[in-house]
Structures are given as C-alpha cells and as structure tokens.
Amino acid sequence: MDDLIIAGRSFRSRLMVGTGKFASNAQMAETIAASGGDIVTVALRRVNIDDQQDDLLNHIDRDKYLLLPNTSGARDADEAIRLARLSRAAGCEPWVKLEVTPDPYYLLPDPIETLKAAEVLVKEGFIVLPYINADPVLAKHLQEVGVATVMPLGAPIGTNKGLKTRDNVAIIIEQAIVPVVVDAGLGAPSHAAEAMELGADAVMVNTAMAVAANPPMMAAAFAKAVEAGREAYLAGLGKQQNQAEASSPLTGFLRNK
C-alpha cells in the first residue's frame, strides 16, 4: 500500500482538505466526503456569544477524519503557541498546522516566528505541520527542531495561481527527510497533479474547492488528480530529454585495453 505516513500514522489519501469559505456546513461536509481526504483542517475562533451558529463539528465525523487545527490568525510565535494549546484543550489530538501570518495582504508565513513556535510546540509533544514559504533552508531548520512535515506554499493562499514556487518546492522535495505537503495556491486539479508528479507527498486544498460552482464535484476532481499525479510519480515519468553536448568520448580508455 502506498499510504501517506506522517509521524508514524498512516493515511490512505494524499489530499488534505480545508473547511473554510464554504457556503454552508452541509456543503462543506459533502465536499470533504467527496474528496476522500482523511485529514481535515479547522480554525479556532472566539465563540460568538450573541449569535451561536451551527457548530462545524456537528458535521465532521471525528472517527473518520483526523481533525487538524490550524493556528490561523496568529501573527507571532506566542499567539500560534497559544492557539495550538487551546486546540489541544478543546479535545483535539496534539496535531497542529502551524501558520504564522503577520502580513495581512498575502498572508505569507513568517519564517522566523514559525521556527520559534515549532521548536516550542515540538517540545510540548505536538505533531507540528508548519506552513512555510518554499524555502529549502527553512525546511531544513524546521526538520531539525522535529516537525512532522513541511508545508510549502505553491502560491499565496487563496490566489489559485498554482505551483508558482515549483523550482524551490523541487529542492525541498529532493532534500527533505519528512513528508512534503504542498499547501496554498493550488487552484485547479492540474496544479495538484503537477505537485504530486514532482514528488510531493501530499497536497492541501481549500479555496479551490470552496469557491467552485459545485464544490463536491471539484473535490472529487482533485482526488483523481492527486491520485493520478502520485501514480505518475511512482511509475517514473518519461523525462524531457536534455540533449548532451557533442564532445569527444570520455570513456574510450575503457575499450583501449
């Protein structure tokens, strides 16, 4: 079986799904079911006392999905750590998708604060999946403090632009010793397939599904693309030929004996 293994735990699907931006909880539930995903991200917010809405968790079967709380909204390490601890106190397993995004425009992750928070959270026993820019050296620093995956972005979150960071993601994949999950910016199933063909271990998608005219159908499309990309990667892609430059033979000496 070609399972995705994170921190020793096995997952059938290589597609992680976000639960934000859906028109309704019912539609969200239908979409994650159609995605075939095993890991579902959620965010933590203050309860709105005056207007308590339909609880998201009423729609997610906790036996079927691993709930992966994120730290969205955190602007520095301390806030992210606080959110992670609260998630655990709210009954989640100690898994956290670490996001520290002080930049309010592109929501780009802060590498320095992310590293600080990761170090603290790993020591507290969290299984940390940090959202990062596609920076190979940052990925190495994070691996050293003990994160369970790295989650480089394909493009700024919510932009649907695809794998704009392809070359750097390729370096991260080549050098990583933990699973690489391409997160953010994947706007179409073809983008997800591209990341998987490149050798990513998984991808994470939210906006592209939530804003589709038919979210469950789009989720199913992503599921197929992720599988197709993974299979193509395992099968060994027919590679583009680099024409070798003509030059004198280098191994003639092997025959002149």
Binding site: K21, F22, A43, A90, M204
Partner: protein
C-alpha cells in the same frame, strides 16, 4: 458581579461555577476551550472553578479554516 467573557461584560451570580456559566450560555463543553484569566484550562477544571468578580474568560471553538 461583573465578569468579562470574550470581551463582553456579563453579570453573573456570586458562587457561579464555570460549568454553570457554560450551561447558561448554551455551549457544549466538549467542543470548546477556555482561557481563564489567561490560563488554558483542561475540561476537568470547568466544574472546579468558582467565578470571581473581574474574571476574564475567553471561550473558543472550531470554525472552518484551511
């Protein structure tokens, strides 16, 4: 007495426990987390804490997110 819950003033009876407050607000204690005067509480602590005037309470739950 007055306490602050999620940045809003709220009046509760003296000797109200945190559990009672949660019930009064119609929340499910299995789906929330609470910071009580900046300390994160475990669920077991909810029934053991008696509210004091001036307490600051943050109650959070899960919403959609990517």
């Amino acid at each position: 007495m007055e306490i602050t819950v999620n940045n809003q003033q709220r009046t509760v009876d003296t000797s109200t426990t945190l559990s009672a407050l949660i019930d009064e607000m119609g929340l499910d204690d299995k789906r929330i987390a609470i910071e009580y005067n900046r300390d994160i509480l475990s669920r077991e602590q909810f029934s053991t804490i008696t509210l004091q005037a001036g307490d600051t309470i943050e109650i959070v739950n899960f919403v959609g997110g990517g």
